[in-house]
């Protein structure tokens, strides 16, 4: 395991940004860290990089606490959306900084990425468009080849074409140089094919920590007459239900095996898997409903 997080909480005044989070990250895997704004994604990444200090619990990266630890932190690259560059930096200075700071830096790869994203090397970073600024961050993150690379939505400023280019480069480079990558994003469906393992934070709590493939089969929508839908929903967790006349559509969590599926279809219902994005939305929505329930 490259990362071990145990019982980590982080409190800011009255707000509990993270609440008893426990998980591990394996070597050479691409993780998706998903959740709404304010769910605690950035705080979690800051804890992994020693930028924040946990209120409770322990964080270990490469077997050691990351706080003020050069040995650990030179192996970690954390690119956040609002990374600030000094005013006097040009694009080429940002690249030189990356080359100096990251021991696994690949200069040739960095230069090819600069060409591919059509970045002007001599332009001051503060004069770049939002898309170009995002591209600088993405290039730093990719070319660092850090064994643990964290992307906190730095691709937000990129347009759809540039984002696809980023995903393609990430996947191609990952195939040649496997490492642990954590992508935090709202654009869940875009990264669904990249992600091997899903972590979902909701209100500071980790509500999903599962392999993407396993998760995909776990939540389905069942559409059809009420008795047929209930045949699937019974004994599983029903996350959401709506009805239109006699037709009911329910979102259900729990493995639906072939027998259950056949039974539902015999009764006239259709069982469909959810896209990763719909799945996360339904789980996060259910979490919010649970929280409301328990606070009553």
């Amino acid at each position: 395991m490259i990362v071990n997080v145990a019982g980590v909480s982080r409190r800011f005044g009255d707000a509990l940004a993270l609440d008893g989070v426990t998980f591990s990250l394996r070597e050479n895997t691409i993780y998706g860290l998903l959740g709404r704004n304010g769910a605690g994604k950035t705080t979690l990444m800051q804890l992994l990089t020693g930028q924040q200090i946990p209120t409770a619990g322990t964080v270990e990266v490469l077997g050691q606490p990351p706080l003020e630890n050069d040995a650990v932190l030179t192996q970690v690259c954390f690119i956040r959306e609002n990374l600030r560059y000094p005013d006097w930096f040009k694009v080429k200075h940002a690249l030189r900084a990356g080359a100096a700071l990251f021991p696994h830096w690949d200069e040739a790869f960095a230069q090819s990425l600069v060409d591919d994203f059509a970045l002007p090397r001599d332009r001051p970073v503060r004069k770049l468009s939002r898309g170009m600024l995002s591209a600088v961050g993405v290039i730093l993150g990719l070319a660092s080849r850090a064994p643990l690379t964290l992307f906190d939505e730095p691709y937000l400023g990129l347009d759809a074409v540039a984002r696809q280019r980023f995903y393609d480069h990430l996947l191609a480079d990952y195939a040649e140089h496997p490492r642990t990558v954590v992508l935090s994003t709202h654009l869940i469906d875009e990264v669904a094919d990249l992600i091997e393992h899903v972590l979902v934070l909701d209100g500071g709590r980790l509500i999903v920590d599962e392999a993407a493939d396993a998760l995909r089969g776990q939540v389905v929508t069942v559409t059809g007459p009420a008795p047929a839908v209930s045949s699937v929903a019974n004994g599983r967790v029903e996350l959401h239900r709506m009805s239109l006349g006699s037709v009911v559509r329910a979102t259900v969590r729990g493995v639906v095996d072939d027998r259950a599926r056949a039974e539902a279809e015999r009764l006239g219902a259709k069982v469909e898997p959810l896209s990763l994005q719909q799945l996360v939305v339904s789980l996060v929505g259910a979490g919010a409903a649970d929280a409301k329930e328990s606070s009553r």
């Binding site: 930028q51 050069d70 990374l83 140089h177």
Partner: protein
């Protein structure tokens, strides 16, 4: 192609000295810009002084000007702003606060000594040319700089160091608590310094303070005694930065 995993099994130790040098290189990546402002502004001040003294001609008294202060003021701002911006970038990219601060202190020290040597050289030229031909004491304005031994370099360097560390400290306060923090610090400082002055007045202590100052040479104040607040500012900067989030 065979895949080459980059993940090490455990973190290998890193020499703190090497890391500090690496980070200082990052702080100085755009070194022409880092030098252009302090030297450019001082040069401007120098040229204006030359023009004024030349215009005054013989009417000008043999004298010094405060023009050199421009370098010290700019250095304060450079360190302050440098701390704000470099911290967000470097620590944002996972440089440890310790390595970052050590590198900042190292760069400020090299700058201070470098400028001091440069000023000393200029002062030698100034002396040899009878004040640039116009009796101007720009680089050598105080009695304390008049003695021309290389020790004079320290007379320039240590106050610069004090100013630089003060800039780093203010930058750290600014980064951690925002401009509110700087204003509160200003209020507290005025209160404390004013309080000390009031206390000295109340105790009729000014003559004693005067005696203390007179008993020490200018040189010992500029070199030796300036080191105390410089060290305090450097330590204060670290104390503030230790828990600052980029």
């Amino acid at each position: 192609m065979t895949a080459v995993p980059v993940t090490p099994t455990a973190a290998a130790p890193i020499s703190p000295v090497r890391r500090t040098l690496t980070v200082s290189r990052v702080l100085y990546l755009n070194w022409p810009m880092a030098l252009a402002f302090p030297l450019g502004i001082m040069a401007t001040s120098f040229i204006i002084n030359i023009l004024i003294f030349a215009a005054l001609g013989d009417a000008a008294a043999e004298g010094g000007t405060g023009g050199l202060a421009s370098l010290y003021i700019v250095q304060l701002i450079v360190c302050w702003q440098g701390m704000l911006q470099n911290f967000a970038f470097s620590v944002g990219l996972n440089v440890t606060r310790r390595a970052f601060y050590a590198a900042s202190v190292l760069v400020a020290t090299i700058q201070s000594v470098g400028y001091a040597v440069f000023l000393y050289g200029c002062a030698l030229v100034e002396r040899a040319t009878d004040g640039w031909g116009v009796h101007l004491h720009f680089f050598d304005p105080l009695p304390v700089t008049h003695s021309f031994s290389p020790v004079t370099i320290l007379v320039y360097a240590v106050p610069l160091l004090l100013i630089s560390f003060l800039g780093l400290f203010l930058g750290a306060v600014n980064k951690r608590w925002g401009s509110t923090g700087v204003f509160i610090l200003a209020i507290v400082s005025i209160f404390v310094l004013g309080g000390i002055a009031a206390l000295i007045t109340f105790l009729d202590g000014w003559p004693a303070v005067g005696h203390w100052l007179v008993a020490r040479s200018w040189r010992s104040i500029a070199i030796g005694w300036s080191l105390i607040p410089a060290a305090l500012a450097a330590a204060g900067g670290w104390w503030v930065l230790r828990r600052t989030v980029p």
